[in-house]
């Protein structure tokens, strides 16, 4: 019900309604000034609706906090959420509508790499700043990258390097990779192979499975015959859950360690502690890191207070990306793209998990990555992981500016 009223309000409500409703929340804002509009396309429907709901919740939280402090440049911030249905065509269409109809100042959003690309093409042409908040290798590389493109999330290259090198150091040197046969899976596979080469580990085999495969059993005989120490499941979402589950039923977990480079809280909760027992994985945020990092605690508490559940990694990206952009506008003292870009490049910040910075050449955000292990004796609904490792942010885990095609 909450979602309906909010979206209806955003779509149907003109400027007048928006100003009135939001003004009651923050009396300090000057009336009459047009709000700063931020378009926010995410896949509310489709298989990643849960992650998208987290993205939306966190961005809303960030905007409310900022409006509560008086907005940006004395202006209200308005978040215009759209459903991209996880379809690039729809994402492009919704972004066009945001740019053409709503005349948004900025765009934040995207969950699938393909939708990010589709959004990016539109914002690039319109010369509007776009902060991408999900994994993609291409978005920071030429020719897809543009001066208006920023990337708050990490990418498959960084993920595979960080998680891969941690796994090689801590779990074993004989690696087998099963990857989803599309850009994301292939990039993770390439990353793992590269890390293995550098650190003297062996990749015994790397087999693809179709994206969205429902049955993984046909892949296992080869894996079992190779007898690896570590099996990396380079896939995402439902594929991750199904492959872990079926690997468990074929007894693979007793023969090797399982690693999911992007370990999703939603999938772990759906699968339960038994299925995921002993599985390792990487993430950029898990609420428990708040025990050591004050900003993380503040963010998790605020999120929990508002939504009665802790935030996960995709919520973190959305929260941080929104604040990153809006606070840059404040520093630039204008919404003009060129000046905001200047305020973002090279900027160092800490909104929810410790120090992060934006590299000047490619607009990639560098940040700590955590290694998790699924918890067996889960005590509460969201008490699902143990944090077993932290890898400090470093540009050495990413391709160089030159590799990415930036002069």
């Amino acid at each position: 019900m909450k979602a309906i009223t909010r979206r209806t309000f955003l779509r149907a409500g003109g400027l007048a309604t928006a100003a009135v409703v939001l003004d009651t929340a923050a009396p300090r804002v000057t009336l009459g000034q047009a709000p700063i509009k931020v378009g926010f396309p995410v896949p509310l429907t489709g298989p990643y609706g849960a992650e998208a709901a987290d993205q939306q919740a966190a961005a809303t939280l960030a905007v409310e906090e900022i409006n509560g402090r008086g907005g940006v440049l004395g202006r209200k911030v308005e978040l215009l959420v759209r459903d991209d249905q996880l379809k690039p065509g729809v994402g492009a269409q919704r972004t066009k509508e945001l740019l053409e109809n709503e005349k948004v100042d900025f765009v934040i959003g995207g969950l699938s790499a393909a939708v990010q690309m589709a959004i990016n093409e539109q914002t690039k042409k319109a010369k509007v700043i776009y902060v991408s908040i999900s994994q993609s290798n291409e978005i920071t590389a030429r020719p897809d990258w543009s001066p208006y493109t920023f990337h708050e999330a990490i990418n498959p290259f960084i993920t595979s390097h960080v998680v891969g090198s941690w796994a090689i150091q801590n779990l074993g040197k004989r690696i087998y990779v099963l990857y989803a046969d599309y850009a994301f899976g292939q990039q993770l596979r390439d990353g793992i192979k590269l890390v293995a080469e550098k650190s003297g580990a062996t990749v015994l085999g790397a087999d693809p499975h179709p994206l969205g495969a429902t049955d993984y059993s046909a892949l296992f005989p080869r894996v079992q015959a190779a007898k690896p120490d570590v099996l990396v499941l380079a896939n995402f979402g439902k594929d991750q859950l199904n492959s872990v589950k079926q690997a468990a039923s074929f007894g693979l977990k007793s023969q090797m360690k399982l690693v999911c480079p992007v370990f999703l809280g939603t999938m772990r909760r759906e699968g339960g502690p038994t299925v995921f027992d002993g599985v390792y994985g990487g993430t950029t945020f898990y609420w428990e890191i708040g025990e050591k990092i004050p900003t993380a605690k503040r963010f998790a508490d605020a999120f929990r207070k508002k939504y009665d559940r802790p935030p996960y990694d995709y919520a973190g990206y959305a929260y941080s990306g929104t604040r990153l952009l809006l606070e840059a506008v404040q520093r630039a003292k204008t919404t003009e793209a060129d000046k905001v870009i200047a305020a973002l490049e090279g900027h160092t910040y800490d909104y929810y998990k410790g120090k992060q910075w934006i590299r000047k050449c490619d607009h990639q955000s560098f940040q700590d990555v955590y290694v998790l292990k699924s918890k067996k004796d889960q005590k509460a609904e969201h008490d699902i992981f143990d944090v077993v490792g932290r890898v400090e942010a470093s540009e050495k885990f990413e391709r160089s500016c030159k590799d990415l095609g930036h002069a």
């Binding site: 209806t8 053409e100 109809n101 690309m117 990016n120 994206l211």
Partner: protein
């Protein structure tokens, strides 16, 4: 109302241009109007095969996608700078795909046809998915430039939403005129004869399979042109352009509007897209509503919106008395009872 209807019936092409010239100013935003035109053309191509020839294709995403990739690759990868050449490349590729898939699907008739076209389109989807060095794979094809269009020797910019809309209107309008020519030709008459009674058409000496194949090629070409326009419009070609849900969408549009009617596809595309746009504001479950409406149409209004309107006005001329494709269905073995 009857007069207006009669006027539309007598001059369908001018009527089309008049309606769509003002259309962008009555819908919420211009990008939506552009989508209606593009999907209307797509549904028009589908309708040529289903509504006029009586072949239900559940694989039209293949031609829409071939057109999109043909145009997209030509402009983004091959360095061609003429929008027309790009569109032509997509159209030709889709027509060729229509010939190949048509040849394979026409090996079986009747209800097989729908399943086969669906399966071959899925095959093409997976091929496109894996050929990522051409298609961009799951990330989609990016970097399709917005080039100025050469019109009568002048290069016109189509960068603004409205300019782009009118560019699409010109192309789609031309396609509609071509379709009208085809339907009015002897070939068009044979198509409809096949729809009404395949055996009788064959008995009259027509090479039914060849005519069907040709209809498939034309249908593919129209769908491909729509795909090419969509590539220009989105500046990306997402891989799900080829996915079967795209086929399902065009089936729904054509049937909502009215299969076998001339303007039905545009009415259907408009209703479907505007319905989606409006409903998705109120509920995330909008596909449920759209699906239920579609079921109701199949059950109670098989002529679709336009078909029903035209049928009520009985104005003849434009569409004649519109009819959904009629290949009588009776459970096996009883067909002796149903019709002698």
């Amino acid at each position: 109302m009857g007069r207006v209807g009669a006027l539309i019936a007598r001059h369908p092409i001018p009527a089309f241009f008049v309606v769509f010239a003002v259309f962008p100013f009555v819908v919420p935003y211009k990008a939506l109007a552009t989508q209606v035109l593009i999907y209307g053309l797509f549904a028009l191509g589908f309708n040529l095969l289903y509504g006029y020839t009586g072949l239900l294709s559940f694989g039209h995403a293949a031609f829409f996608g071939l057109g999109a990739y043909g145009t997209g690759v030509t402009l983004a990868r091959l360095g061609v700078t003429s929008v027309w050449a790009g569109l032509a490349a997509g159209l030709v590729l889709a027509a060729a795909g229509g010939a190949l898939i048509g040849y394979l699907c026409l090996r079986r008739r009747g209800i097989y046809f729908a399943m086969l076209s669906l399966a071959f389109a899925q095959l093409l989807y997976f091929v496109g998915f894996h050929l990522s060095w051409i298609t961009g794979g799951d990330d989609g094809l990016r970097g399709i430039p917005v080039l100025p269009v050469g019109l009568a020797g002048v290069r016109v910019s189509i960068e603004t939403p409205l300019a782009f809309y009118y560019f699409v209107l010109v192309v789609v309008g031309a396609a509609v005129a071509v379709l009208k020519r085809i339907l009015d030709s002897p070939f068009g008459a044979v198509l409809q004869a096949i729809r009404e009674n395949t055996d009788r058409a064959a008995a009259c000496g027509y090479d039914v399979t060849r005519v069907k194949l040709l209809s498939f090629v034309f249908s593919g070409a129209f769908a491909g042109l729509a795909g090419g326009l969509n590539a220009l419009y989105l500046q990306v070609v997402p891989i799900d352009t080829l996915y079967w849900t795209t086929s399902g969408q065009v089936v729904m549009m054509a049937l909502l509007g009215g299969a076998g009617t001339f303007f039905g596809p545009f009415v259907g595309a408009g209703v479907f897209l505007i319905l989606e746009d409006v409903l998705s504001v109120f509920t995330e479950s909008w596909p449920l509503v759209v699906g239920a409406i579609f079921m109701a149409f199949v059950r109670f209004l098989p002529r679709g919106i336009w078909g029903t309107v035209v049928g009520l006005e009985i104005m003849g001329g434009l569409d004649g008395p519109p009819k959904p494709p009629e290949r009588s269905h009776t459970p096996r073995g009883t067909r002796g009872v149903a019709r002698p």
